[in-house]
Assembly symmetry: C2
Homo-oligomer: 162 residues x 2
DNA sequence: TTTTTATCCCAGTAAAATGGCCGGATTAAT
DNA sequence: ATTAATCCGGCCATTTTACTGGGATAAAAA
């Protein structure tokens, strides 16, 4: 089992989509800027999210991504599963052939742990996260930064002037 | 957060020690054979386990390792922590500086998850595992294999004859 | 006292995963 | 036609994983 930046990025990006639901498609460039995730890495993640029917894409100008289901119907576990190949803690994918074909000493422990983690993460939907106070606060901070400091525009005009 | 073979091996090896408690020091060679883990890899893991005061070593012939505390006083979480640098699911070690010094959108989610996992794993002691039926069954199988098939002895005598 | 059995310790390493860059193709709105 | 976006493939540096090997040290047994 691994829960690294990959899964964390995926959930963060999906939550960003959930926060901006109803505003039409959201581009990866927007998510990249707000969440500080590289654009090309986002592309890879969203390829997997799309294959797993979690998002739906619109190409061309004004395009981007939208949640395929409403945000109450998407839970954190399936987002991580989509990019990570599952939150399984066993080494044998629960097959029980951990030690040269037979079951290892700690097999059941890892099965229990997997169930525990999956139970926890699948009980939390994107809608649940959206309604959290801390998430709302961080989201507002990110919105303001986007409006008040369009630095990249200034920088690019300066750059073209020099 | 990562739970890979490393942490699984460490817990399996510690459980092996717990199962053979009271029989004097257990050598890593024995554990290696019973649990199918490479000897030199076990050495590395036990160096960390020793540094974290989980085992105590006896050098020389007849030597090996023993649990430093009784098996009811050692839980799974600290074993994994000892070899793995913690079961923390956040990317910022809970410091809250996930996104260029500030808190990221999903910070609290990963904190909650970490707490969930740690709570679960720290509630399970080696003694709890020893008393499980499935563990007892696997342990018996491993004992029998050791007694009935000393293949390595036969093979080495054949090898020296050829 | 020599040999053997074990822990110690350090260095290296192949393979995989991570996190990302780049170039170009395709689609569609302006 | 241009532009803005998704798509798609390959490439790449770095880190981690899981393991090998060599040798030093300690202590029991010969």
């Amino acid at each position: 089992m691994r829960l690294t930046t990959k899964g964390r990025y995926a959930v963060t990006a999906m939550l960003d989509l959930a926060l901006h639901e109803g505003k039409g498609p959201i581009s990866l460039a927007d998510i990249s800027e707000r969440q500080g995730i590289s654009l090309s890495y986002l592309e890879q993640l969203f390829a997997k999210l799309r294959r797993n029917d979690l998002v739906h894409s619109v190409r061309g100008p004004g395009g981007g991504y939208q949640l395929k289901r409403e945000r109450g119907q998407i839970n954190v576990a399936e987002v991580i599963d989509a990019v990570n190949e599952s939150v399984d803690a066993t080494g044998c994918q629960k097959s029980g052939s951990c030690q040269s074909g037979e079951i290892c000493l700690t097999h059941h422990l890892w099965c229990d742990l997997s169930e525990q983690i999956h139970g926890f993460l699948s009980s939390i939907s994107l809608a649940d996260l959206v309604h959290r106070n801390e998430v709302q606060e961080v989201a507002e901070r990110q919105e303001q930064r986007g409006r008040v400091h369009p630095e990249h525009l200034i920088v690019s005009s300066v750059a073209s002037a020099s």
